[in-house]
Amino acid sequence: MSERILDIKNLSVTFGGLHALKDLNFHVDEGEIVGVIGPNGAGKTTFFNMISGMVTPTSGDILFEGKSLVGLDPNQVTQRGIARTFQNVRLFANMTIAENVMVSQHCRTKQGVFGSLFNTKAFRKEEAEIRAHAEKVLGFFGSRLVGYRLEQPASVLSYANRRRLEIARAMATSPRLLLLDEPVAGMNPKESAELTELIGKLRSEWGFTIVMIEHDMNVVRDVSDRVVCLDHGETLAQGSFEEVSSDPEVIEAYLGRPLEKQT
């Protein structure tokens, strides 16, 4: 078994009297794709917010590559190598597509005021590298986000392409662990099938370890090595997709709700 990249121990968070997450234990191995499922309000997004530093846990510990992430600011977490996307697409809508991806390389680059004022050689080199990396990342999604699109504002993109740009922006931070929050929400079956394939490539070609929240069970089944089901902030079941999907508790948690209900 390969090395543990993320190890979460007895993690809890309470908002007032509400236990959003209760005593959660969870781990991700290097190179794994883990699917997180659960009914609405199960605490999945809170779980992501906690890993990415936007919410501080009440107790417990998050170890990333053996070192604790608790108490770090979101930008420090990103610096350490965890990038995320947002469930309700949050692009920089008035920046161009290229700029959206260029700006997220901020923590991997370092030219400051001096370099830009004097247009130094190092500054020009770094700018060219940022640009090249941005185009490479965007090229991952075929021809949709490159070419004349590069200089267009993100606001003209269709919904599916906004989702793709979100993933590209997270990829550009050069993470080791990628957190995808409902990557195929709002896409049609053909698009989600295509994206599922791309998620597989994110691991095989780019070497990212991936944790993915998803409601679309087809996608979860197709790419996940392991599935974790959360409900009311607790782990209900974990294991292979077949194990989890046949678990009576999971079926009970979902029973009476339309499975495809999207948020």
Partner: protein
């Protein structure tokens, strides 16, 4: 088919008959008429007509005081007939109906003034309304009887309203010519002092080329005034006691009308050809334009008189401030209402560092600074100090967002001013007495830039404005600039994408503080004294208005804003071109700001992104029409709609 056309014609005719000249949208007429009335009464009671009556626009015909009121009926008369014609709609036929509507609006406004005339005649409300005076009565009744005034205002406003509405009847080409005639005549008259100064200066230089050889030493050996070669022209256009002569006005109107009719579209064509260019060709043309502008600016002060130089220096000082604030507000999106603090720090530190006699209660434990620093070294120290103050103020403030941040910066702006005034720090800075006799900026062999020689200050300002513009331009297109933009768009996401928002925002604060300290240093050298009262909150507000009106986040916009607001209207203490209006400056600022926010919230020369943000719907519609909106060309089954941001 001809049958159908015939039916259409008949129907149209019937409609025309049914909608006779008096078939107006009375509700609209009433609304605009009352609006006009309110505006006129407000202007009359603000005292503007009386105090501006002495200033003639066209000698013997109309004074600035009357113009201040009579400018409104044509505008509202025009507005009442305006309609929005959307795609697929046919515009209403223009005709007598429009003129009648314009007349009605004007007359209704005139009725309000007439009522005011009667009230002023019969009651004395001078206690709350200071301008409720006999002078106002005599002005409003045209120095005739009250009855004459009552009738005259209704008719006059009606006729002016009708004239405004009649513009709808003209073809666009003619309309543009008429408008440019009116604007030229009024503009040439109002900007008399500038034109006099400029034309006189050039004329003198031509008559006596020797004065071009002077540079910084002008103050010591002023050359005797010589007759400008253009004196004849000036005398022809301008009357003895100010304002245009009738003949001059007619000639100017003819020239303007002729130019407008013959030259229409040339500017638009040049602009289109510039915009069509791309890549190196465009860069080349931009470089040529910048070079030409630079040469013009360098040569300009040789030809202009002191008034123009002084004016341009003031514009430049506020331009520096506005450029700095533009980085903070326009790029990084931090609404800083206490920006004047950095201006104050710049002014005071250079003053203390260069002044020869130290402030009275300068503490013993500090080395006496009797002006042993050169100006440039002092400037360097000032810049470092301003940067430190930027960090010091920024650090506690920067973790707040939005409205809270604005209020806290407002507080810090006042704190800095009060510190300079207080016992705690006042001793070092002479408190309310301020620091005086500050020497000018000494550049060794190049000379000393001081307020007595506006030309030297002009060059000083020009140099620093060039530096500031370069800094803004470079930073906007760098890694830091992108990070500022991201923070402005969505701070939490920017942070999640690995941007240290605290550092990035502090950087904006520091760069802004440094640019403001340039301005402060120049002001100290120019005026030769600093007082705490020069750094009121009003200064912060005016700089912010310059940035907003000009176009937030755009260097050209900030330039335009400084010229329009500071150059034309004047700064908080500095007179502008409209020196006559200086008493009503803030009134005009306010009115302009409200109008801008309603009609053009993105500013005079907007930043592309910001106007896109403010007009998201129009922009997307436009992009859709041009076929640029993403419609998933590779997947026909997907949704083609564009979700709102």
């Amino acid at each position: 088919m001809s049958m159908a056309t015939h039916v259409d014609d008949v129907l149209e005719e019937i409609e025309e008959v049914a909608r006779g000249a008096f078939d107006l949208n009375w509700q609209r007429v009433l609304r605009f008429g009352n609006l006009l009335g309110l505006a006129l009464v407000f202007i009359a009671l603000s005292g503007m007509p009386v105090s501006l009556d002495k200033r003639e626009v066209i000698d013997g015909i109309i004074s600035l005081g009357y113009l201040a009121m009579l400018v409104f009926p044509p505008i509202l008369g025009w507005t009442v007939g305006k309609e929005v014609v959307l795609e697929g709609m046919t515009a209403t036929k223009r005709g007598a109906r429009d003129v009648v509507a314009g007349f009605m609006v004007g007359a209704l406004g005139g009725v309000w003034v007439s009522i005011l005339v009667l009230l002023v005649d019969n009651y004395n409300l001078r206690d709350p309304l200071v301008n409720w005076s006999p002078e106002l009565l005599s002005l409003l009744s045209f120095s005739e009887s009250v009855g004459f005034g009552v009738v005259a205002w209704i008719l006059l406003c009606g006729v002016f309203g009708a004239a405004g509405a009649a513009l709808h009847l003209l073809t666009p080409k003619l309309r543009r010519a008429v408008i440019s005639m009116i604007l030229t005549v009024v503009g040439v008259s109002i900007f008399q002092s500038l034109i006099d100064d400029l034309v006189g200066g050039i004329g003198e230089s031509i008559a006596d080329p020797g004065r071009l050889s002077e540079f910084f030493g002008e103050a010591d050996t002023p050359r005797p005034r010589v007759d400008s070669v253009f004196d004849g022209v000036i005398d022809f256009i301008y009357a003895q006691r100010g304002g245009l002569t009738i003949a001059g006005a007619i000639v100017l109107a003819l020239i303007a009308g002729g130019l407008s009719l013959s030259g229409r579209g040339r500017i638009a064509k040049a602009k289109a050809s510039y915009n069509a260019k791309t890549g190196p060709e465009r860069t080349k043309q931009t470089a040529i334009m910048i070079a030409v502008a630079t040469v013009l600016l360098i040569v300009l002060p040789f030809f202009t008189g002191r008034i123009t130089q002084e004016l341009l220096a003031n514009v430049g000082i506020f331009l520096l401030l506005a450029l700095g604030l533009n980085i903070v507000v326009g790029l990084a999106g931090i609404l800083d209402l206490g920006y004047v603090a950095f201006f104050a720090v710049g002014s005071y530190s250079i003053a203390v560092l260069t002044v020869e006699n130290p402030p009275e209660s300068w503490p013993d434990w500090l080395p006496t600074l009797d002006g042993q620093f050169g100006w440039l070294l002092a400037l360097l120290i000032t810049v470092v100090l301003a940067g430190l103050v930027g960090l010091f103020i920024g650090a506690p403030v920067i973790r707040m967002r939005g409205d809270y941040l604005a209020i806290v910066t407002l507080g810090f702006g006042e704190i800095i001013r009060i510190l300079f005034l207080s016992d705690a720090l006042g001793g070092y800075f002479n408190a309310a007495q301020g620091i005086t006799q500050i020497p000018g900026a000494d550049f060794g062999p190049l000379g000393v830039a001081h307020g007595t020689n506006p030309r030297s200050i002009f060059y000083l300002v020009l140099a620093f404005a060039a530096i500031s513009i370069y800094v803004s331009w470079r930073l906007e297109r760098s890694r830091l600039g992108r990070a500022w933009m991201a923070v402005r768009e969505d701070e939490s996401v920017a942070e999640a994408m690995g941007i240290n928002t605290v550092n990035v925002k502090l950087m904006a604060f520091v760069v802004g503080a440094v640019l403001a300290s340039f301005s402060g240093a120049i002001v100290s050298a120019k005026v030769g004294s600093v007082f705490p009262t020069s750094f009121l909150i009003l200064v912060s507000i005016i700089i912010l208005v310059v940035v907003i009106v000009g176009g937030m986040g755009n260097i050209l916009g900030v330039l335009a804003g400084s010229f329009v607001l500071i150059g034309v209207l004047g700064g908080p203490r500095q007179p502008g071109l409209l020196a006559e209006f200086s008493e009503y400056k803030l009134l005009i600022y306010g009115a302009l700001l409200i109008w801008m926010m309603l009609q053009r919230p993105e500013g005079l020369i907007p930043n592309v992104r910001r106007s896109r943000e403010l007009h998201q719907d129009e922009f997307l519609q436009d992009a859709w029409l041009k076929g640029e909106v993403d419609t998933e060309e590779d997947d026909e089954t997907s949704a083609t709609e564009v979700a709102p941001a």
